[in-house]
């Protein structure tokens, strides 16, 4: 949205990841302005998730630098305190919220836990009020708040994951295919919700997806990755309307829409 703010919330430079001699991420640089939303688009093996893991400190970059909220964050976190500090800067929302939510916790407990970990609020009544506020924001009903993940649908579970990110008060949320597993009508609710949150709270997004139409709906800028490299970048609307790179064109042409015909390449 507003690309004018002085320090970007996130900037990465020359990011590389090499595992056993194989380059997974190759010289990736980009930045996200405060309140911005950047799409990372690519297929499996493009390195997009590895980029996210390096930013969150889940894996170490082989080389390159990561600057999060003005601070150098290239090395993985070493202590619980560091991890908590990092968590206040960046939160992750995964495709399958089932495996990223504690099955023993109700939605309310999950949100409360995040609030307790990352805030300085310890008063029980005030914590509970905040839980309800956040639940309201993501559209979880009171009954759903008292449910464990197992009892809830994919969309509701994804709302808990988003609520948890909000509770941690993260300035950047990395969303890794957050709506890929959701029903179309629920997908729309979650996409609108993400849009609302960004407008209301100013949270920035790094939005990883293979779905160009979804990306077009919720991001300002885009990078297209293939085999670890950025092959095209720019404003999302611009790039998707007039792709320059052949691979971006192929991605675009693979999206089923009226008049589309599947293509077969015969080479696997």
């Amino acid at each position: 949205m507003t690309g004018s703010s002085a320090t970007p919330i996130l900037s990465v430079h020359g990011l590389c990841k090499v595992i056993r001699g194989i380059t997974i991420v190759d010289d990736v640089s980009f930045s996200i302005p405060e309140g911005g939303s950047l799409a990372v688009v690519g297929e499996s093996g493009s390195g997009k998730t590895t980029v996210a893991r390096m930013i969150t400190g889940l894996t170490r970059a082989t080389s390159g630098s990561i600057t999060l909220a003005g601070a150098e964050r290239s090395a993985p976190t070493r202590s619980a305190t560091e991890r908590r500090a990092r968590a206040r800067e960046v939160q992750l929302v995964f495709q399958d919220p089932y495996s990223s939510l504690d099955p023993r916790y109700t939605a309310a407990q999950t949100i409360r836990e995040a609030l307790r970990m990352h805030g300085d609020e310890h008063d029980r009544a005030r914590l509970n009020r905040r839980v309800i506020e956040i639940a309201d924001m993501v559209g979880l009903s009171e009954k759903q708040l008292d449910s464990r993940p197992r009892m809830l649908s994919g969309g509701q579970r994804q709302r808990i994951a988003i609520a948890r990110a909000l509770a941690a008060d993260a300035r950047l949320v990395i969303l890794d295919e957050p709506v890929a597993a959701l029903d179309v009508s629920i997908q729309a609710q979650v996409l609108n919700l993400l849009d609302d949150i960004r407008r209301a709270v100013g949270t920035s997004y790094l939005f990883i997806s293979h779905d160009l139409a979804v990306v077009r709906q919720v991001t300002d800028d885009i990078i297209v990755m293939r085999q670890g490299r950025i092959v095209e970048r720019g404003r999302t609307a611009q790039v998707l309307q007039n792709p320059v790179d052949d691979y971006t064109k192929l991605l675009r042409d693979s999206v089923p829409q009226p008049g589309w015909r599947a293509k077969r390449s015969f080479t696997v």
Binding site: S185, N192, V255
Partner: protein, 337 residues
């Protein structure tokens, strides 16, 4: 719906008449399908679109007779003219070989500790009595047919060595080895990359045309169904709420739920300021309210919608299950998006 009446003609490949099904959960029967009827001719592709729990997979399972054991089914499912639910023994095995089933996640349906070759030839060797060497030759040929290069090498590999797209090709090739008359594909490309999806779809499409197969293509993706299938059926809460020629669904659908699905999906070339959102979430067939099952989420619902159960009726070139269709679509009403 269209019924085959002329006695001399070939029976349609697939015919469902008023199919309802309930599954026993604890001491309750929970509805999973409620009054599903349709016909698919040989060589025709029908897309079944719906959200989770709408009954689309159950419909495919009813056709394949793969519904779970504790299921009560009424109505008739005919495949090649035969009532699927009366089959047993050899006739049931013959039915199973007529119907090829392709699942969403090939990994979950391939034995991880056996080679691709073992997997592909198992039923040929075990049930069709084909010699193993001959079966392997056929498997290699089938893999070549779906665009897999160096098929002999692939046959010796294990599932974990293959990408998702390649595994799905293996699945399709395996199904085709059984020389089915129809293919039921349940979200066959949902787990695949977009460029791979495009190829797998192209293969399915080609195979259907080449072999004159009936295809039932199940997906949550309305656009995808439109491009793959001749006709699209939209399901909600265990019922079909609309059927229409696929090419007309985007602009010409007439059920409020179909319209909502169209509006909820972001479009690559026409981004909206805000996606049209349906309140609430899809309702399970067992929890469907009285009257129209969609009325609790429908922007056009009136009191009568909670009372009268709508029938699937011909309307505007398709079939629509909505008592207010004429009112909503009268000339004076603005066209809802």
């Amino acid at each position: 719906m269209i019924m085959h009446s002329s006695t001399g003609a070939e029976p349609p490949a697939i015919q469902l008449e008023n199919v309802a099904a309930s599954v026993r959960v604890g001491d309750q029967w929970r509805a999973v399908l409620r009054d599903v009827s349709f016909v698919v001719a040989a060589g025709e592709a029908l897309g079944i679109v719906g959200e989770s729990g709408s009954g689309k997979s159950m419909t495919a399972k009813a056709i394949a007779r793969l519904l779970p054991g504790r299921t009560r089914l009424t109505g008739t499912v005919r495949v090649g003219g035969l009532d699927v639910n009366t089959l047993s023994g050899r006739a049931l095995r013959a039915h199973r070989s007529r119907v090829g089933f392709i699942f969403q996640d090939p990994k979950a349906h391939i034995n991880p500790v056996r080679t691709i070759g073992d997997f592909m030839t198992e039923s040929l060797v075990r049930t069709a009595g084909v010699r193993r060497r001959e079966a392997m030759v056929r498997a290699a040929r089938a893999l070549g047919g779906v665009g897999v290069t160096s098929p002999e090498r692939r046959l010796a590999q294990y599932p974990h060595e293959l990408s998702g797209g390649l595994l799905q090709r293996v699945m399709i090739a395996t199904v085709l080895l059984g020389e089915p008359e129809m293919i039921l594909a349940d979200e066959p490309t949902t787990a695949l990359d977009v460029t791979t999806q495009s190829e797998v779809i192209a293969i399915l499409d080609e195979m259907r045309r080449e072999r004159n197969l009936a295809l039932v293509f199940i997906t949550h993706d309305l656009e995808l169904a439109s491009t793959v299938c001749d006709r699209t059926a939209v399901m909600y809460a265990g019922q079909i709420v609309e059927t229409r020629a696929s090419k007309d669904v985007h602009e010409g659908s007439r059920h409020p739920y179909t319209r909502a699905l169209v509006g909820a999906r972001p479009l690559l070339d026409h981004p909206q300021e805000r996606l049209t959102v349906l309140p609430g979430r899809p309702i399970a067939p067992a929890d469907a309210p009285a009257g129209c099952s969609f009325h609790t989420r429908c922007p056009y619902a009136k009191e009568s919608c909670a009372e009268i159960e709508p029938e699937l009726e011909e309307f505007d070139g398709g079939t629509v299950r909505c008592i207010r269709k004429h009112e909503i679509w009268s000339a004076t009403t603005a066209v809802p998006r």
